[in-house]
Amino acid sequence: MEHTPGALAAFLGAKPAARGYANAVRGSAGHAASLILRQKRLALVALVAFLPVLIPLAMAFLSRTQFVDGGNVVFVRLVEQLYISVLAPLLALFFAGMLVAEDVEMQTMPYILTRPIPRSGWVVGRFIAYLCVSVAILSVSITLTYLASATLANLKMTDRNNLVLLAHYLGVTAAALAAYGALAVFLGAFTKRPIVYGLLLLYGWQKIATVIPGLVDFLTIKKYVDALYPVLATQRAVVEVQTALGSFQKQVFIVSASRAGLVLACVTAAFLVASIIAVRRREYVSNRVAGS
């Protein structure tokens, strides 16, 4: 590393310019996207996300008469019960949950936290990267499932109403990914085990809250995501709940789609703000101290 004094002076003299907030967000998003796209778990998650495409194809191949459900019903069931209820929280946990946690785990936080990037820009940039990748994965998979479902009866690929239905579900999926993702980012910024807490909250608590009588289900993200579904809300007013002891009916208090969308936007914003506060306040660096 020997240098002539002139070379070092020239190097030190060429100070680069610092750009604004939007550049910081773009930089953070670009880095996060490059990290997500290189993760080994991406292939696994993508594989799981694309598996539902095979279901309508298998149904069509095995028998057209064996299944009474038409392509539209199969598509709606797959999107609501698999993509939005199971896969969206899963992608949120495995991608968004690790956006901050992975830097803590790999001990690369000192590099980030000693950079002058606004903490909010860093968190928002990473969140945007997660949202783009996960929305892309699920959108492609849902669209393929739509095309596969068109091999069954009652769903035409080019029918305008069906295309509107597809677009509607893609929107709901994006909203679900945003809300679940913001929660997962917060868990990653605030706890040491975001995946564990995330699994408990998204698959444990949300399930339990739907069977507890009363208004507890208002404390779940699922309540507001479900309210965005295109099927008439009144049809969801009474739900039959299956438990180990038998089935019972539970009165569900309806939330309108517009209010549910507003709540999801607020939930997303609130968890992102909480994540930014956590990143600003917490000391992520390992504590190697005297005498320890």
């Binding site: 190097f11 550049n23 290189r38 606004p118």
Partner: protein, 306 residues
């Protein structure tokens, strides 16, 4: 001249463990050595100076402002951490590039600054290789490159000599001194006095989280030289190396090992000069040199009146 770092009544504790205990110190321009045995509180002090830790009590000002979450201050600091951690599946260039983006550079500036910084630390040829394929010394260079890429006004290097071979250390010493000559204040932490002595006369001595001395290294040197010095030398030909150094008058004892020697010397300066010469020769007898640090510990014991 105003101080680059001002620390007032600084204490930092983690639960019941006191990492820093009521420190008062000022760090000025030039190179300052932050010296202390492992666990002395050097890294904790650096992390407080960088704003990674909030003071439990007292205050820190860097370049005139508090560092924690302060973009205006952080924009002027370059930091090379002690830990050897990088993002997976990333090349050295990419790592420096993304760190530049986090600094606030746009795409073009970040790429250019990354190339220039990699060139400065002589990593141009290997900068597009994955970091996982780098030697420890190459990773140190990349860490230094990310610290220098934004042309900081103040540089903090936490144990930068770790893992470097003798030639790499010499180059690092020279670069640090040149940076200081060009007006960049540099703080270098180390637990090896000899390393610090090579680059500066100004040291801050920490022990058990407390400041035990601040001043000129030559005053400490006198204390050090009154203690025998133990050095671990790694070599491919330990017997040839032993034959070469055995006749030196300052060598008090020699212990032959499979991978090298353990030397005990009464004159560390002459011994290090001799070993460096052997490491840089045409047929190097010395692969690595490691200070066993017991003499430094003895001085700390002396200063703390143990």
């Amino acid at each position: 001249m105003s101080a680059v770092v001002e620390v007032k009544s600084l204490s930092k504790w983690f639960g019941e463990v006191i990492a820093l205990n009521n420190l008062d110190l000022e760090i000025g321009r030039g190179v300052t050595g932050l010296l202390g045995p492992n666990g002395a509180g050097k890294s904790t002090l650096i992390k407080v100076i960088l704003g990674l830790h909030a003071p439990s009590r007292g205050s820190v000002r860097v370049l005139g402002g508090p560092p924690r979450n302060n973009a205006a201050v952080l924009r002027r600091i370059g930091y090379c951490p002690e830990t050897d951690n990088f993002y997976a599946n990333t090349s050295g260039f990419e790592f420096v590039y993304w760190m530049n983006r986090y600094w606030g550079m746009n795409n073009r500036d970040a790429a250019r600054a990354a190339e220039e910084a990699c060139d400065l630390v002589h990593m141009t040829d290997r900068m597009h290789d994955p970091v996982e394929e780098y030697s420890k010394g190459m990773r140190q260079r990349i860490k230094l490159a990310q610290a220098l890429a934004a042309r900081p006004d103040f540089l903090l290097l936490d144990e930068p000599m770790n893992g470097l071979d003798p030639q790499g250390r010499d180059e690092m010493y020279a670069l640090i001194q040149r940076l200081a000559e060009h007006g960049t204040p540099v703080v270098v932490s180390s637990h090896v006095l000899y390393e610090i002595e090579r680059i500066t006369d100004d040291v801050v001595l920490l022990y058990g989280g407390s400041l035990i001395a601040q001043g000129r290294v030559r005053d400490i040197r006198a204390l050090i030289d009154s203690q025998p010095h133990t050095i671990h030398v790694s070599s491919g030909s330990p017997r040839a190396l032993a034959a070469r150094v055995a006749g030196e008058g300052h060598i008090l004892a020699l212990e032959l090992r499979d991978d090298g020697l353990v030397l005990r010397t009464s004159d560390p300066n002459r011994c290090y000069d001799l070993l460096n010469g052997l490491a840089l020769g045409e047929d190097p007898l010395v692969r690595t040199i490691e200070c066993a640090d017991d003499s430094l510990q003895a001085v700390f014991d002396y200063l703390t009146k143990k």
